[in-house]
């Protein structure tokens, strides 16, 4: 018997809901172009662009990849992977800046 249906939760989100997420992603794309290209945030454009990118990535993760329906195992593993990457980058920068 082949069964992939997850009985613990019903994550069959509606198509309209996905369309709304898509519209939000395109709106954020336009915002990131405004922030990055036209220097709307002056010296903070790098931080602004990367923050918007993180919001976009979050929307894709939570809604398109159904992270909100995943259990603690997947969420914990994701946190571990992102934290590992963060520490690798942070420690490298400590070396680069204070060498």
């Amino acid at each position: 018997m082949r069964m992939d249906r997850d009985t613990s939760q019903e994550s069959t989100a509606g198509y309209v809901h996905y369309a709304r997420i898509w519209a939000a992603l395109v709106a954020l794309l336009l915002m990131t172009i405004a922030v990055g290209r036209f220097s709307l945030l002056a010296n903070y454009s790098v931080l602004g662009s990367l923050s918007i990118a993180t919001v976009k990535a979050g929307l894709v993760l939570i809604y398109f990849m159904h992270l909100r329906h995943e259990g603690r195992v997947v969420k914990g593993m994701l946190l571990l992977a992102v934290a590992a990457l963060f520490f690798i980058i942070a420690l490298t920068f400590v070396d680069v800046w204070y060498r």
Partner: protein
Amino acid sequence: MAMGKKSNTGAAASAEAQGGIDYTGKKIGMWLFLFTELLFFGGMFLLYSVFRSQYPVEFHAAAQEENLLLGSINTTVLLTSSFTIAVAIAAIRKGSKVLSLYMQTATIIFGICFLIIKYFEWSAKIAKGIYPDSPALLDRGKGDNLFFGLYYVMTGIHGIHVLIGIIVIAIMFVYTRRGVIDRDSFAKLENTGLYWHFVDIVWIYLFPLFYLIT
């Protein structure tokens, strides 16, 4: 020996019967693979960050040479393809095989569009003499060489991921048509979707780093 075999079969049958255990295992396997991909791309993002901090002026000037219009169109194309694959999975879960097939086809077309636009972008740069180790680029100093070197490596490896995604979605299309993927058995398509969304997320970060941060 016979006893062991029997008990293994029993355990497998029990897992199958519960469905959920098998499903969770398939999903966790895919997420684990995506974490290795995250760290793989992470290494390249690390290189970009360090070199950008060392050559801010050169990276600033080089990023302005990128074609923002084509980059923006490609971002929209990839975001839309993420939407279509998400709908394809939701559709198969609801039992709408035809809609799922249409959405999988749309995702493949968007993926091909992305690669065609990328081809035109790369061609325009190569025509200007900007490619790794080119005489024109070698005359321009370290910062420019690092920026365009990272541009070709990162967008190139991302492009290979898009190509692999297109091939895998095409295989899923065949599986869906044959009924291997249906409303009761869709983990293959869902995992393909996870991969495709991950490739989209990588581009979400590549776009501002190469086209916008000036």
